[in-house]
């Protein structure tokens, strides 16, 4: 035991040991907490993975040495959970019909299809209800152990159980207390609170009556209800008892021979249909090329503009002759410090043609957000505002790393300022910055926030086959199609497009990284 404590302590300071133990304790605690949830959901793979990770972590961090592992394992877990798992899950969803109309599992869908077809006929009698239970049946009496005292609108009283419905006066053993029935035979009256406790059984209780069964509609009312759909478990068909039509399962829905589809359906793997749809659908083909072209224009333009401005400012503020450089630097970081989510919204307001501050300030009437060209300019400007401080910081850092003697040597050789910049500063800078530019490109390629919050993709493209806007990029366009313009959400289709975009961005990044490597070799 003491050996264990020593190992955990590992010669660290008492505070460090305490922290390590409590954090490990928390990890274990979380695992214990989630065990219940995962068992409840029967997610055995997840459970095994979680405990494997927990045990591995505890083992690793109560051990001396293994320093590289201690770095790699948490990072790898991180990667698995936040990168690999989402990609795989998206891939899975893209092969399903998950979306409006298909969000349940099959059992749930069958249950709902039956519940929706259960109706109280318009002429049905509604009863007021008091719930009775047989105390001998214990805490969970089940359907057999409960009875209902039913009062119809004519004040006629019946007693109903799962077996039969009889008028109360025909029953010999009724106990009254102030004209109130408190017991019928072995059954005793329950209060509402007590009735709630047995509501599962109450929900299942069907009191046989002429043409159908009386069932509870709430804790205090009941009525005869009829269902017109039954599920035949053996043959896996849903039968409409009214018309006799049979519905067989097909791709996540019950479908009749005539092609009549019942809703709701369930989530089912339907194969690559979402992908073929992405390539053949007029929805995508329509304005796709325009959106695609602007997507590149937007991403390249954003990277170029932010980099140019960021670099320019970095160069200026790197000039030792400039006073209060610290102050300027702090001020320049402000746009970066504000949440882009909010600033984008604020910009949308500022750029309002008539009431916006920008037009009022410059005394113009520019349709910033309503004209196709101006809207693109606006988006780029807003993105410039949001993005340049990052580039500024990156460039400032990278500039410090360029050896001053190289520049001095160049001066001695008689190079002018431009030559020094173009031949020494910029190439050296690019070695550090190029990967970040690529990352920035990938980020802007999918910069949903800026586009959606500033223009919502608008203004609309006139005469397009599907609703699309001049400033829509692929992600926002797909968002529109998948969530805003159809009959609700279409997660399967959206996932397929997301996978395609992922492939595209991954391809660009891979190519670009190879390109930067060659850049490094030159340097």
């Amino acid at each position: 035991m003491s050996g264990f404590v020593e190992r955990v302590a590992g010669g660290a300071s008492p505070l460090g040991v305490l922290l390590r133990i409590s954090v490990l304790g928390l990890v274990v605690y979380q695992a214990v907490v989630f065990t219940g949830t995962l068992v409840g959901e029967q997610a055995w793979v997840g459970l095994a993975a979680m405990w494997a990770a927990t045990v591995a972590l505890v083992w690793l961090f109560t051990r001396r040495g293994h320093t590289p592992l201690k770095f790699i394992v948490p990072g790898t877990l991180f990667l698995l959970v936040f990168q690999i798992y989402p990609v795989l899950y998206t891939g899975y969803v893209s092969l399903t019909n998950f979306g409006t109309g298909n969000v349940l599992d099959k059992a749930g869908a069958i249950e709902q299809l039956q519940a929706q077809a259960t109706r109280v006929p318009t002429d049905a009698v509604r009863y007021d209800v008091a719930v009775f239970a047989d105390p001998d049946a214990g805490e969970d009496p089940g359907v057999e152990g409960i009875g209902l005292l039913l009062t119809d609108p004519d004040e006629q009283v019946f007693f109903g159980t799962a077996e039969e419905l009889v008028p109360l006066e025909d029953l010999p053993d009724v106990t009254l207390e102030d004209d109130r029935v408190v017991a019928v035979g072995a059954y005793e009256r329950l209060s509402l609170v007590e009735a709630q406790a047995v509501q599962t059984a109450l929900g299942q209780l069907r009191v046989p009556a002429e043409a159908g069964a009386i069932q509870l509609q709430s804790l205090t009312t009941a009525a005869r209800a009829e269902t017109t759909r039954t599920y035949d478990e053996e043959r896996d068909v849903l039968v409409d008892t009214g018309t006799g039509v049979e519905y067989t399962p097909l791709d996540g829905n019950f479908v009749s021979d005539d092609g009549d589809v019942l809703q709701p359906g369930w989530v089912a793997v339907t194969g690559p249909g979402n992908y073929t749809r992405a390539f053949t659908s007029p929805l995508i083909r329509g304005p796709f090329l325009r959106v695609f072209a602007w997507n590149y224009g937007f991403a390249i333009g954003s990277v170029f503009l932010t980099f140019a401005l960021g670099l320019g400012l970095a160069l200026a503020l790197n000039e030792p002759r400039l006073r209060s450089r610290r102050l300027y630097r702090s001020l320049l970081v402000i746009p970066y410090a504000l949440p882009s989510f909010l600033t984008a919204l604020v910009w949308a307001g500022l750029l309002n043609t008539e009431f916006g501050a920008v037009n009022e300030l410059i005394g113009a009437n520019i349709p910033w957000l309503n004209d196709p060209v101006w809207a693109k300019v606006s988006i780029l400007l807003v993105n410039l505002w949001l993005g340049f401080p990052y580039m500024f910081l990156v460039c400032t850092g990278a500039l410090q790393a360029i050896p001053a003697d190289m520049l001095e040597a160049a001066s001695v050789d008689g190079a002018n300022a431009w030559q020094k910049f173009a031949r020494i500063t910029l190439p050296n800078l690019m070695i550090t910055v190029a990967p970040l530019l690529i990352a920035s490109f990938a980020f802007n390629f999918n910069n949903f926030n800026t586009v959606y919050l500033v223009t919502r993709g608008g203004p609309p493209i006139q005469g397009a086959q599907t609703p699309a806007g001049h400033t829509d990029i692929l992600v926002s366009y797909v968002y529109r199609i998948a969530f805003e313009s159809g009959r609700g959400a279409d997660y399967g289709f959206a996932a397929a497009i997301a996978v395609l975009i992922f492939v595209m961005v991954a391809g660009i990044s891979a190519y670009s990284f190879r390109y930067t490597r060659s850049l490094e070799e030159i340097a």
């Binding site: 209060s191 509501q199 709430s218 804790l219 929805l283 919502r456």
Partner: protein, 464 residues
């Protein structure tokens, strides 16, 4: 070195927590021990909420509203709501939470149970419910609008309700809450838009829309008001433009004999629809309809006396924060939108009500709550006080029928038709909004824009 280890361990903790939670999209631990009467859902902390939630009462706003507030509720940013740990959980928006709270508490005491009211933004309720309910994390009851039914029933998320006293409610309210012959909600309020005028500037209601146009333009050009007519239609939204569309005899979808909408016959590019589009373009050109008026500008300008007319709903009148028409003390009157070229404007009528989750483990209790409790005059009147919308229960409605606002909006609503709840309506909003936006921007002719929108919508419906 030690610090690195610590940081990494904390990250691992987060990793594991997320790994376990990512399957069901909701985390359990945040709700543990939260047996409180009222719990605020996390995203209510979004402090940018400026419009009253009820402004978003209708589907089209979910789809098209480009206001700041809507975007703040942009789904990718939200953490899902966890179910509170109470016997009965109700999701409602801010206004309804405040109105329902005392009654809900009473219901809890009467029945010896705990009831939690969780506050969400109005449109969040629907989207969060769709994710949370199948995962077993959803509420037992939601407070929502009838036009959600198409989606919710198609998804199998709401349970049928049997209402013995359906005759005691306004017929339109029960009809609206009925989907495919089955009742799915207990209605508590009816809402629609109408014309609100500043009685200091315009003492008498104009008899025709042409007269209204004259008055509005005169007041605008004489400088008495900044805005003649403030139409609540930012992002060019078809919901608020709808009466100006139907006055020409057009309708979004053709109407079957039984009053349901026929999704196969779109009304946008019928001769009537195109005539409405052309006239709308003419109003934009004449300056009667100003494309830059957002909801906030509309409320602000009318409440401060800078607009002569507004076309909006009860929400703008009763809104408290920022102060709406009543709170600002402007003298106003509500009346139906006057006839346009002899045709009657028919606004969309929306019905609000309570629906029960089909995943509720307290189904019977939830049924008891909505059947016996929400259908009382007391509760319906309290909800009226909070939202300004006329009650759906006739007995409650009679008590407030003398209220001039109720009369005005009610009269306007009598000309109206229920907002379609069919799922195909989801294909309409974006394309139609785009068409209006192009008219606002004066790009292409209104006819072209409406024809293009109709083609887009047919494409979308065909794709399902």
């Amino acid at each position: 070195m030690k610090r690195h280890v610590l940081v990494m361990l904390m990250m691992v903790l987060a990793v594991i927590a997320t790994a376990c939670a990512s399957d069901d999209a909701t985390t359990d631990d945040s709700s543990e021990g939260a047996a409180v009467e009222t719990t605020d859902a996390p995203e209510d902390d979004v402090a940018t909420e400026e419009e009253p939630a009820e402004e978003e009462a209708t589907e089209e706003e979910a789809a098209t509203d480009a206001t700041e507030d809507d975007a703040a509720a942009e789904p990718t940013e939200d953490a899902p709501v966890a179910r509170a740990d109470a016997d009965l959980v109700i999701w409602a928006d801010e206004t309804r939470v405040q109105a329902l709270e005392p009654f809900v508490e009473q219901f809890g005491v009467d029945n010896g149970i705990t009831v939690a009211l969780q506050e969400l933004e109005f449109d969040e309720i629907r989207s969060q419910f769709s994710t949370a309910a199948p995962a077993g994390e959803g509420p037992d009851i939601i407070v929502g609008a009838h036009d959600w039914l198409g989606e919710l029933v198609t998804n199998g998320l709401v349970a049928p309700i049997d209402l013995a006293n359906a005759g005691e409610y306004a017929e339109v309210a029960i009809d609206a809450m009925t989907y495919d012959g089955q009742l799915y909600g207990v209605p508590y309020a009816i809402e629609n838009i109408a014309l609100v005028r500043n009685t200091d500037l315009v003492p008498d209601a104009p008899a025709t829309f042409e007269e209204l146009e004259q008055i509005a333009l005169d007041l605008q050009s004489s400088g008495d008001v900044e805005i003649g007519l403030a139409l609540q239609a930012d992002a060019a939204d078809p919901y608020h433009n709808y009466p100006l569309f139907t006055a020409f005899g057009a309708s979004v979808f053709a109407v079957n004999d039984d009053g349901t909408y026929n999704p196969d016959e779109l009304g946008l590019d019928t001769p009537e629809g195109l005539a409405a589009a052309e006239q709308f373009g003419a109003w934009v050109e004449s300056g009667l309809i100003n494309p830059s008026i957002t909801y906030d500008v509309m409320v602000d300008s009318f409440a401060s006396g800078n607009a002569a007319f507004a076309i909006t709903g009860p929400w703008a009148v009763s809104q408290e924060d920022p102060p709406g028409f009543r709170a600002q003390g402007v003298n106003y009157a509500v009346s139906p939108i006057p006839s346009i070229q002899g045709g009657t404007p028919e606004p969309f009528v929306g019905v609000q009500g309570l629906m029960i989750s089909s995943f509720s483990e307290q189904g019977l209790l939830a049924q008891t709550f909505v059947q016996d409790f929400i259908g009382t005059e007391e509760v319906q009147l309290a909800l009226f006080e909070a939202g300004g919308r006329p009650p759906a229960l006739l007995a409650a409605f009679d008590q407030v029928a003398d209220d001039p606002d109720v009369q005005g909006f009610g009269e306007s609503g009598q000309n109206g038709a229920p907002l379609p709840a069919i799922p195909e309506m989801g294909s309409v909003w974006t394309a139609w909004t785009d068409a209006y936006e192009l008219i606002y921007d004066q790009q292409g002719t209104p006819t072209e824009n409406f024809q293009a929108a109709a083609d887009q919508i047919r494409n979308l419906i065909a794709e399902g």
